[in-house]
C-alpha cells in the first residue's frame, strides 16, 4: 500500500475530489495547511507598508491506496490540480506498512 500526499491550491480542491471519487477512491483525509515552495509567499499592503507573507494557504490531501492504484491517483491529482501557473503544489508517494480500520480491526486492503 501507498500513501499519496498532495498539496494543492485551495480552489482546485473540489475538482480533485470529484475526479478521485469518480476513479473510486473511497476515503481521504483533507486539511487546510500553509507553506511555501519556490515561489515563496505573497505581498500584502497595510497603509502603504508592504508585508511579505511567507506562508500561502494550501489544501493537503492524504489517501492510502493499493500499490497498483498509486500511479493512477497521482496522475489524476496532477491532471486536475494543474493550472500551469506557479504555486500549483506537489504530490508525493510513500510506502505504508499496515492499515487498521479502528471500528472492526480489519487490516490492510480490507481496511481501505
Amino acid at each position: 500500500m501507498k500513501l499519496v500526499t498532495a498539496v494543492i491550491k485551495p480552489h482546485k480542491w473540489e475538482d480533485v475530489r470529484e475526479a478521485l471519487e469518480t476513479f473510486g477512491v473511497t476515503g481521504m483525509t483533507v486539511s487546510e495547511v500553509s507553506g511555501y515552495g519556490r515561489q515563496k509567499g505573497h505581498t500584502e499592503v497595510y497603509r502603504g507598508a508592504e508585508y511579505d507573507i511567507a506562508l500561502v494557504p494550501k489544501i493537503r490531501i492524504e489517501i492510502v491506496v493499493d500499490d497498483g492504484d498509486a500511479d493512477d491517483v497521482v496522475g489524476i491529482v496532477v491532471k486536475t490540480a494543474q493550472t500551469g501557473r506557479i504555486g500549483d503544489g506537489k504530490v508525493w508517494v510513500s510506502p505504508v506498512e499496515t492499515v487498521v480500520r479502528v471500528r472492526t480491526g480489519d487490516r490492510d486492503e480490507n481496511a481501505l
Partner: protein, 430 residues
C-alpha cells in the same frame, strides 16, 4: 430651546460612543491579537479618568472665565455654581476631552505600561487638553488661539486632533520603537473590527461636528444643515482621495485605506465644518485623504514607530483642515470670513497657520514634560518579555481570543479548576 437640549443630549451620547466603543474597535482591530484588549482598555479608562477630572476642574479651566491659557480651575470646581440644565453642555465638552486623550493611545500600542498610561491620562488632560480647550473653544478675548490670534476651529482641529497628534509623536519618540519594528510583521489582526470602528466613528462624528453649534448671526438649523452636509461630503471625498493615492502608490485600494480615509476626512473637516461650503468640504476631504495616505508612510522614512498612525492621520489631517480654512472659508459660514479663494486675502490663512503653530508648540512642550517625568520615575515602557508575550496577559491577565476547540475543556474537567492559577500569581506586574 428644548429642541436644542434634546439634540445636544443625542450629540453628547454620539461623541461618547466615538471613544467607547468606536475608537476602541478602530484601534483594537489594527493592533496585534496579543495586545488588542490593552488597546481597548486605554480608551475605556481614558473615558473614566478624564470624565471625572473634567467635572472636577476641566470645565472650570475651560469655561469659567478669562485667561490666556486657561481659566481658574477652582471657580466652578466640581460644577459648583453650574445649573443642571448646563450639565448637558458640560457633558458634551467632556466627551471631547475624553476622545482627545484616547486618540493618543494608538501611537503607543503594544508597549506603553498600562500603569504609565493611567498616570499620563490625567496629567495630560489637566495640563494640555483643558488649557487648549480654553484657548480654542471658550473663545474669550484673552484666550490665545481663538481670542488673540483669531484662528477658527469649529469642532477641534487644533484642540483635539493636532493636540493629540503632537502628543502621540512626542510619546513615541520617548518610548522608542516596538521590538522588531519595522522589520517584523505587525499587520492588523482584525480589519473587520477596524472597519466597524471607522463606521461608528463616522456616525458619532455627527454629534462631534453638528453638536459644536456656535449660532453666529444665523438660525441654528441652517448651521446644523451646513455642518452635517460638510461632514458627510468631506468624509466621502476623503475615502476616495485615500484610495486613489493607495492605488497609484501601491497597486491596491485596501479596506484599511477606506477606514483610514474616513477618519482622515472627518479629522480635516472638523475645524472647517462651519466655515466652508459644500465644494470646500469636498476639496478639504479629498486633499486630507490623499495627504494622509502619503503621510502615514513618513514613519518608515523618518524612523519613528507611530504604531497606528495617530501622527499621520490626526496631526497631518488636523493641520490640513485647520490651515485650509484660510483658503476655503466663506463669509456665509460660522466665522464670517472669506478665505483666500473667495477674495478674503491671506489674513485668515496667516491666522490659521499661526494657530496651528501655537497648538503644536504648546502640546509638544507640555507632553514632553509629562512624559519625561513619567519615564524617569515610573517608567513608560513594559519589559521586553511582556512586550513579546503580549501586554494583554502581562497587564490584564487576559487574552482576547480563545480559538481552540475540542482538545481541552470538554474531557471531564481535566483542564478546569486544577490548572487555573490564582489571579495574583503571575501576569499583573505591568
Amino acid at each position: 430651546m428644548d429642541g436644542y437640549y434634546a439634540f445636544m443630549l443625542v450629540a453628547t451620547a454620539l461623541v461618547l460612543m466615538m471613544t467607547v466603543p468606536a475608537l476602541a474597535l478602530f484601534y483594537g482591530g489594527m493592533s496585534r491579537s496579543k495586545s488588542v484588549l490593552n488597546m481597548m482598555m486605554m480608551s475605556y479608562v481614558a473615558a473614566a479618568i478624564v470624565g471625572i477630572l473634567y467635572v472636577a476642574v476641566g470645565w472650570s479651566m475651560g469655561w469659567s472665565g478669562d485667561g490666556t491659557f486657561f481659566a481658574n480651575p477652582f471657580e466652578l470646581f466640581w460644577l459648583d455654581g453650574v445649573g443642571t440644565t448646563d450639565y448637558i453642555f458640560v457633558m458634551f465638552q467632556m466627551t471631547f476631552a475624553i476622545i482627545t486623550v484616547a486618540l493618543i493611545s494608538g501611537a503607543v500600542a503594544d508597549r506603553m505600561k498600562f500603569s504609565a498610561w493611567l498616570v499620563f491620562v490625567p496629567l495630560w488632560a489637566l495640563l494640555c487638553y483643558f488649557p487648549m480647550a480654553h484657548m480654542v473653544f471658550s473663545c474669550t478675548e484673552d484666550s490665545l488661539i481663538c481670542g488673540r490670534i483669531g484662528a477658527q476651529d469649529y469642532a477641534g482641529g487644533t484642540a483635539v486632533h493636532i493636540n493629540a497628534g503632537v502628543a502621540a509623536l512626542v510619546l513615541v519618540l520617548l518610548l522608542g520603537k516596538r521590538i522588531g519594528w519595522p522589520k517584523d510583521q505587525m499587520r492588523p489582526h482584525n480589519l473587520t473590527l477596524t472597519m466597524l470602528g471607522a463606521g461608528l466613528l463616522w456616525f458619532g462624528w455627527y454629534g462631534f461636528n453638528v453638536g459644536s453649534i456656535v449660532i453666529v448671526d444665523q438660525d441654528i438649523t441652517a448651521e446644523m444643515g451646513r455642518t452635517f452636509a460638510n461632514t458627510t461630503l468631506a468624509t466621502m471625498a476623503a475615502i476616495l482621495g485615500w484610495l486613489v493615492i493607495e492605488r497609484l502608490m501601491h497597486g491596491k485600494a485596501t479596506s484599511l485605506g477606506a477606514a483610514s480615509g474616513i477618519v482622515a476626512g472627518l479629522v480635516a473637516i472638523t475645524p472647517a465644518a462651519g466655515a466652508v461650503n459644500l465644494s470646500g468640504a469636498v476639496a478639504i476631504g479629498a486633499i486630507a485623504g490623499a495627504v494622509c495616505a502619503w503621510a502615514v508612510g513618513l514613519k518608515y522614512k523618518l524612523g519613528y514607530d507611530d504604531s497606528l498612525d495617530v501622527v499621520g492621520v490626526h496631526l497631518v489631517g488636523g493641520i490640513v483642515g485647520t490651515v485650509l480654512i484660510g483658503v476655503f472659508s466663506t463669509s456665509e459660514g460660522a466665522g464670517g470670513i472669506d478665505g483666500l479663494l473667495y477674495g478674503g486675502g491671506a489674513g485668515s490663512l496667516g491666522d490659521q497657520t499661526l494657530g496651528v503653530l501655537v497648538a503644536v508648540v504648546f502640546s509638544a512642550v507640555i507632553t514632553a514634560v509629562i512624559a519625561l517625568a513619567i519615564k524617569y520615575t515610573l517608567g513608560l515602557r513594559v519589559t521586553e518579555e511582556d512586550e513579546v508575550e503580549g501586554i494583554d496577559l502581562a497587564a490584564h491577565g487576559e487574552s482576547a481570543y480563545d480559538l481552540h476547540t475540542g482538545m481541552s475543556g470538554g474531557g471531564g474537567g481535566k483542564t478546569g479548576v486544577l490548572n487555573t492559577r490564582p489571579a495574583d500569581s503571575e501576569g499583573a506586574h505591568a
